[in-house]
Amino acid sequence: MVAIDSKTLMKLYYLALVAVVIAGLAVHFMGAAPEAAEVPEMHGEEAAHEAAQEEGFWWLEIPLFAAGFAFVGGVILLALSKLGVYPLIKVSEDYYERHSIKKREEQEKEAGGEQ
């Protein structure tokens, strides 16, 4: 069995965080493009299309955008689902049983019989 030490794990996590930020900045500013030899050669329309693709959305050009997006997006999504949507739609597990017309009628019959 693999022993999981939470402190060690967190240390590893922080290390990974630092490493990935450095790598992200390096990739962004050094423009790590794929090796030309591995990519199929493109001409005319394809090349023009490729150029357009390279631009993408402007916000994707912001350094470490993925990091910020993931954190903020995660917080918004979790908050929206757990604190926004969930309280509006949560019901007890026997909700449909309690709202069953047949069951209600059976209960009424039983109650009538007892009386």
Partner: protein, 628 residues
């Protein structure tokens, strides 16, 4: 060499299962998928001829059915379904109920029937078999909840079947052809679809669980048996993706529906309590990526959707298997009842984590080589909103399946005392192991998968070079670093910011759109059983009363008229306050007449009878001549 339909290996092979027992049956249920896999490999090697193969033509009425239409796309999906089913049958081989195996084989066999269908009638037939065969995997749970969920499941799928049937008939009327799968139903000029296409699309959307037609999935799948849910997760929705690819690639509405689907599914997955329901909602979310890819319609998007069907199905099945192992070991899959299972089920935990890492799209795990293609295609197609929704759903997938569920299920607190859990038996572990290895292998060596997909993409999508360009270097440093950053920075959103609300484990359920038909359906049944049935009974009684009156009247019409006349006279005289002596004498006369009724019928002489007949004839002739 004669081509054999791989679906028929399942459909007819399963007939022997009830006759086999013990280890022989266990070996047999694993042997059948292996035979089908060999059959498919021979097809891929060209033993039966060059692709596309068009075979098994059967005359039907004035049409020709084609059961074997094999091209690159159907071959790829055939491989996907058979490989996954092999792991599933290893996982489920211990199941003692032979008819559960038979249902699973019929279900998968009919799915393969859909995949290789070359005409609309064949598609419709296997589509229906698929729905009915899968129903028994739900009902075999033998609980009241499973019974209800199965009933609703088949109701929804029957509606889908009706839509498909209507679409097939309309298509046949419009084109005079039953051909299917050779060209898109989307008009290339207008990018729109006609009425037959709309009906067929609705049927496909129901099986694909596209909101608002999705609620059957999250309702029924968690109620199926442990192994039944594992089977169910892979075939119905993925065969819907396959037919959407065939018929509706490039239909833009699907891009929007897919993007909404991705977020809708993940919001529910984050809040529901039952792990198998979480995974069911997550099927909707991940289906959204493929539907969006089909809608975008470029080479990159379509290639990504096809690749995602394989990569995602493998890891989702692995997750369902792990959840099934938890359910089998503990008797529950509700997070409100679980916790601390890592100590007793460490192997299951690691299997779950491989599945979760794969479905999140960690580098070197399966979905890394599929989902980013679809998200990237939204960028290339300049669609910021679909891109945003797909990216957000990606964050949610990671937080839900790789962080929240493992934390709440395997750690966070000690296992409740009443739960005595341990890792599942060997066959279940082997089934999971096969998929875990495949999840990693397909990501480490994506080349063969991409090269199988490329010819299929060429036949379906525009801008093929976008796909070719991407697959040349799927592990570009930019992609690897960005995705790693993505996961590492999403983690604190749960761990540091919003972990606390999620640790409040409530045994609650979340209402979904099935509320509308579950509640209104009850009222509809009540309406049928109460007011409508009461009215029907009233009409029934009235009809019987009238009929018996006519019988009574027919025994002696003359006497009956006299009795009714007397009756009327008494009523009138009572109302006119005529002296009671008169009334009393009439009443006694009426009483006597009723007692004597019907008496002997008055006999008429032959002449009088003829006269009566003549009279009737004259009246009839007069009426006829008068023009009545």
């Amino acid at each position: 060499m004669v081509w054999i339909h791989p679906g028929f290996i399942y459909l007819f092979g399963c007939l022997l299962i009830p006759l086999l027992k013990g280890k022989i049956r266990q070996a047999y249920v694993i042997l059948l998928p292996i035979l089908a896999l060999i059959d498919l490999a021979l097809m891929a090697l060209g033993v039966f001829g060059e692709l596309p193969l068009e075979t098994w033509r059967i005359p039907f009425l004035k049409y020709t059915l084609m059961l074997g239409h094999v091209d690159n796309l159907s071959l790829f999906f055939g491989f996907l379904f058979i490989i996954v089913s092999l792991a599933m049958f290893v996982y489920a081989s211990h199941v003692k109920e032979e008819w559960q195996h038979v249902s699973a084989f019929l279900y998968i066999g009919s799915t393969l029937g859909v995949v290789f269908a070359g005409d609309l009638f064949t598609l419709l037939f296997f589509w229906e078999v698929m729905a009915w065969a899968s129903l028994f995997l739900i009902w075999y749970r033998k609980t009241e909840a499973a019974w209800g969920a199965g009933f609703r499941y088949i109701m929804v799928h029957s509606f889908g079947g009706i839509c498909l049937f209507a679409g097939v008939v309309l298509q046949l009327k419009a084109t005079g052809s039953i051909a299917w799968g050779f060209s898109s139903l989307v008009d290339p000029a207008t990018h729109g679809i006609e009425l037959p296409g709309i009906m067929i699309l609705i049927a496909f959307m129901i099986n694909g669980a596209v909101p608002p037609l999705h609620a059957w999935l999250s309702d029924a799948y968690p109620e199926a048996t442990v192994t039944g849910t594992v089977f169910l997760n892979a075939f119905t929705t993925k065969s819907a993706i396959y037919v959407l690819l065939r018929g509706f690639t490039g239909f833009e509405a699907l891009m929007w529906l897919g993007a909404i689907m991705a977020v809708y599914g993940i919001i529910y997955a984050l809040i529901v309590n039952d792990i198998r329901r979480v995974l069911a909602y997550h099927i909707i979310s991940q289906g959204g990526y493929m539907v969006a890819g089909i809608g975008i319609g470029t080479g990159l998007a379509v290639g990504g959707a096809i690749a995602h069907a394989l990569c995602y199905t493998m890891c989702k099945t692995l997750l369902f298997m792990s959840a099934g192992a938890v359910l089998a070991a503990t008797g529950t899959a509700k997070m409100s009842d679980l916790g601390g299972l890592y100590k007793s089920m460490p192997k299951t935990f690691w299997m779950w984590m491989i599945g979760a890492a794969s479905i999140s799209g960690f580098p070197l795990f399966s979905v890394f080589v599929s989902k980013p293609l679809i998200i990237e295609s939204a960028v290339f197609a300049n669609q910021p909103w679909p891109w945003l929704l797909l990216e957000i759903a990606s964050v949610g997938t990671f937080l839900c399946l790789a962080v929240k569920i493992p934390y709440l299920t395997f750690f966070e607190r000690d296992t409740p005392k009443e739960i005595k859990a341990q890792d599942p038996p060997v066959n279940m572990m082997v089934g999971m192991g096969i998929l875990a290895v495949l999840c990693i292998a397909v990501a480490v060596f994506p080349g063969p998968m991409y090269h199988m997909i490329l010819p299929a993409v060429e036949g379906l999508a525009s801008e093929i070079h976008t796909f070719e360009h991407y697959i040349a270097n799927p592990y570009a440093p930019k992609i690897v670093v960005e995705l790693s950053m993505f996961f590492l920075f999403a983690f604190p959103a749960f761990w540091w910011v919003l972990r606390e609300p999620f640790t409040h484990r409530e045994p609650k359920m979340a209402l979904d759109l099935d509320w509308f038909y579950r509640i209104s359906g009850q009222w509809f049944i009540w309406f049928c059983e109460k007011p409508v049935l009461s009215f029907a009974k009233f009409v029934d009684r009235l009809t019987l009363k009238i009929a018996s009156y006519f019988v009574w009247f027919g025994r002696n019409p003359a006497e009956a008229l006299r009795i009714k006349g007397l009756d009327l006279r008494i009523q009138l005289e009572k109302n006119l306050d005529v002296t009671s002596d008169y009334v009393r004498s009439y009443e006694s006369g009426l009483e006597g007449a009723r007692q004597r009724y019907p008496r002997e019928l008055p006999r008429l002489s032959l002449g009088a009878s003829l006269l009566l007949i003549l009279l009737f004839l004259v009246v009839y002739v007069i009426l006829y001549l008068a023009g009545y």
